[in-house]
């Protein structure tokens, strides 16, 4: 596993995924609520570029005919079929599936973002 400099904290925008190619792989770097995530830019559903979707909130499980918005900037929504992933766990918001996001380890050093691949 090697460490690769991908970007800097200075240029990352909150909740705006940026896509980078590292060692031939497409990886999304996402800054949200003080954390930096490196996500394989491949949706586990149908291999869409998931990091080109939006980071946003969603409607939380609720009682019939009521809406409760939450998880703001914690949900990565695939641009193709709209599958929603919990950015902190990689799991779909709909439970019951083994399909999850793939994360890469991230280290920060002197404001630079390194991804371990």
């Amino acid at each position: 596993m090697a460490s690769h400099l991908v970007t800097t904290l200075e240029v990352l925008e909150e909740a705006k995924p940026s896509v980078h190619t590292v060692e031939g792989r497409s990886i999304g770097i996402i800054k949200s609520k003080g954390e930096i995530y490196a996500v394989r830019n491949v949706c586990p559903h149908k291999r869409a570029p998931v990091c080109q979707g939006q980071l946003r909130g969603t409607m939380l499980p609720s009682a019939p005919n009521t809406f409760v918005f939450g998880m703001e900037n914690e949900v990565l929504r695939c641009p193709w079929h709209g599958w929603e992933f919990n950015l902190t766990t990689g799991e779909t918001i709909c439970d019951g599936l083994s399909k999850k996001l793939t994360f890469f380890p991230v280290t920060i050093k002197d404001g630079a973002v390194y991804v371990e691949i």
């Binding site: 559903h45 969603t58 409607m59 939380l60 499980p61 609720s62 009682a63 019939p64 005919n65 009521t66 809406f67 409760v68 079929h81 709209g82 599958w83 929603e84 779909t92 918001i93 709909c94 439970d95 019951g96 599936l97």
Partner: protein
Amino acid sequence: MLTTAEEPRAGTKEMIIDADVHPWINGDIKGLQKYLSRTWWEHFDGRYVLPNHYLRPPLARASSNRLDAMPPSGGEPGSDPVFMKEDHLDRHNISHAILSSIQAGKLAAIPTPNEAIALATAFNEYFLNEFITVDDRYKLAMVVAAHDPFAAAEEIRRIGNLPSVVAVFMPLLNTMMGNRHYYPIYEAAEELGLPILIHPTGTEGGFPTAVTFAGGIPSTYIERHTLFPEIGISAITSMIFEGVFYRFPRLKLLAAEFGITWLPHFLWRMDQNWHQFRKEVPWVKTKPSDTVIEHIRFTSQPIEEPERPEYLDQMLEMIQAEKTLLFSTDYPHWDNDFPMQTLTRLSPEKRRRIFFDNAADLFGLK
């Protein structure tokens, strides 16, 4: 003298519940006179015929009723409870027959809620007094007029606790089943532990108040009959995504005579869409297919006849038929299925579940 081709197999003691049997009242509203008040009788004032869909079956008398099931006493097949008992219950070894009146289903064609409510009560009283008293194997799916859900709920609470009442037959109107309009009905049915029963009523696509077909208006009976599954699919889709079974967690639905082999596609499609559009209906917290398997049951007739019987075996496995499917005949209609010719490839355990246990669980029968 009974003259149909099938005779009971000697020594057969299989317990069978028939989840779909249709009684008839000769003369429509005229036949209900005894169970209508004088005031209501005067109100109908000669309007005694319940409406028929224009597209009739291309069969004898343009009727769904079998010629050979006509009772010797005269009148329509299904109208003589004694003859029906002999011709069907005895002959086919039926332990319980769930009566749902397709004739009462025509209430969906009536645009006047007051009349539909009064007739629903008269239908229920007729069957309770003229059929249930003849043989305790008869069990009633009481009818409600969903035009007025509060009156329907009142009717459910009026007779729904009788041991002979085992379901609530709700003729479908042109408002989807998940709509909150129906919640008083579901609340009362849940309270009394009665499943809601839906069934083609013959009014589909033929009257402004009745449920409509997708795509437009069929021009022949063969189209109309082929499209019945659409109605079941629409009803279930609406109930699932409106969250009816979250609001009424003990409610059950029996979708009778809508077919079954469309179900695998439908379950997979609902689950697929749930992953894509869950945020639109966040109250749907688990896979829609799981909710269907838990809350909805289906009847077997008319059982599909694929060119290779193993295809049907696979379909039954996909829909967890040992849990979801109830045997039904549809007696005395032209396309009725009887026990000895139906689902003959099942294991003894699956057959017992489909021919008895699943219905016993749903209707609270022994």
